[in-house]
Subunit: 338 residues, 2 copies
Amino acid sequence: MKGKATSFDIAHYAGVSQSTVSRALRNSHLVNEETRKRVFDIAKKLNYKVDKNASNLRTQQSSTLALLLFEDPTSDESQINPFFLAMLGSITRACAKEGYDLLVSFQSASADWQADYEDSHRADGIILLGYGDYIDYQPKFNTLLEQNTKFVCWGATVDNRPDLTVCCDNYGGGKLAAEHFIAHSRTDCAFIGDASDHSPEFFSRFQGFKDELLANNVKINERKMANAISTEESGYHATRSLIANNIKFNALFAASDLIAIGAIRALKEANINVPKDVAVVGFDNIAIASYVNPPLTTIEQNTTVAGQMLVENLLKLIRGEEVQSTLLAPILIPRRSS
Amino acid sequence: MKGKATSFDIAHYAGVSQSTVSRALRNSHLVNEETRKRVFDIAKKLNYKVDKNASNLRTQQSSTLALLLFEDPTSDESQINPFFLAMLGSITRACAKEGYDLLVSFQSASADWQADYEDSHRADGIILLGYGDYIDYQPKFNTLLEQNTKFVCWGATVDNRPDLTVCCDNYGGGKLAAEHFIAHSRTDCAFIGDASDHSPEFFSRFQGFKDELLANNVKINERKMANAISTEESGYHATRSLIANNIKFNALFAASDLIAIGAIRALKEANINVPKDVAVVGFDNIAIASYVNPPLTTIEQNTTVAGQMLVENLLKLIRGEEVQSTLLAPILIPRRSS
DNA sequence: TAAATTCATGACACCGGTGTCATAATGTCA
DNA sequence: TGACATTATGACACCGGTGTCATGAATTTA
């Protein structure tokens, strides 16, 4: 045998037509049991595998999903946000379970990514994953919708299409953090993240946090808030600036674990004890969170379930079934940092 | 327009043949500049994308690499080993840089994975990634070789084909750890990992460690060794069993960071101070390592370079170029655990 | 026993590109 | 000006499957 075996080779050896081979291999009931067995045996012997390109071309589908990972433009090449890495893992697993392959691709938010994968028939649908300034994406979402591209996204909401989003109940998560502080009588709260609506996820977390505090007659002082993106560095610097401005607080809610870890570093450097002087709560429950010193109290987003939901919903869209918006319940994981 | 635009549609609007459209879009010099421009404009307007399935089918290649991730069968669904997650990130980046897509797939070591992706023309080559009992894989490697499948692998060596492997100089890394202990006069050493040759990487690390100690007239006591696979749990239990058997040591080399982290937990529980009573050194330098308490001294494997090398070498193989075996130099990252 | 139904299979167009060969038009050189 | 090279394009087979329609044999029904 020179190249790879094709269905014609099998047909030749089995003494049947290529059509029959194709049918046999796909377990069509239209083929005689005996013939099927002969075809299978020969296929196995020749190490035959269906050519996906030919098959996909004909059927106009690919059994493949594409995952586009948007990174904070700031986070240079060094490290990928561990939360997304965890999501990637669970999405990969969920795809495998459904018999789909997963194409992974990093994207910068600005690039001309919309529908590339789906238009070129490399994937049946797209999963969008990333923090970041999703508002800029809306026009791209619209392009995707216009072209009838199947996609779901994590976190960001698509105008008029809540069903395309899977996300954690960030508002509820923020409330959990506030409840926790109040239960421990830590009412002089600081917040680090982005309280503007640039980053809708951080914004919701802050809103929930603020509202729950207000419900308990605690007001958060605007001076006790600092902006940060989701990196350890950013959290560190934001916290340092609060300290440098001599701003006092006994509780700190960080919009993500990485920010919280940076914050703890800054607090330690300033000889502020965590949790004695300041209780810290993060968000995400990344793997690192339980290993830092002190172990970080955080609001968990269940990445396993999240990945599954994204894949399941996307497959439903592809199959033309109805999908509902999915809000995942966050859980408070108390550890020693608070 | 009903469905997606094809090159025939463009040909129609541009008033040329479909052949010319195809040539124009691929920047063939055989096509007139003016015609090319017209074709490009129309393609843009129609939101045309080359159908990858058709193109791949004809050219018999896919511009895609497949990454097969083998997991320790023991590590249940919960978490993926962070070291491999980091590798996955760097491989994804390296692929993007080379204009290749990446298909990611989890595999159990036992499954019938060989060549699935390449045979079915979904990928031009395969990257194999995983710790684990690579010895069992040799027959599968042979199958791959026989079928002339292009692949590279991390860590494991393929008989007679050193060029297919990219790995860290595990032996040299083990020596670094030993040097470090000797420099700090910690010569009563324990080792946790797998000192048998089931896991060739762990084995090499241990060999380097042992040989360097011997070169300094230090002998490692067999009783001070315990087996573990690369999980925190496993490291924890292995260390506990040493402690339970009342075995004393003042230095501990763990074959991976996860093991080291588990070991530190066990030591702490037994009121053994790290690094005062026992100095601990790990291997990998995963992200968590710098956050644990105390921060973990470890032997770094540069995942960014590793990912790049894997991709570059695989592409060379695919292009039929010559490839040499690649040993990456490990670096000792001293932190407070030693 | 003729007609209808079921079963198993083959022939063939088709998916949407790419590569080869043929062809026409224009330019170049002896 | 005839021979030859160059440039731009079209026609067409082909990649390896899948889906439809036609066909013939075996079986059931009227």
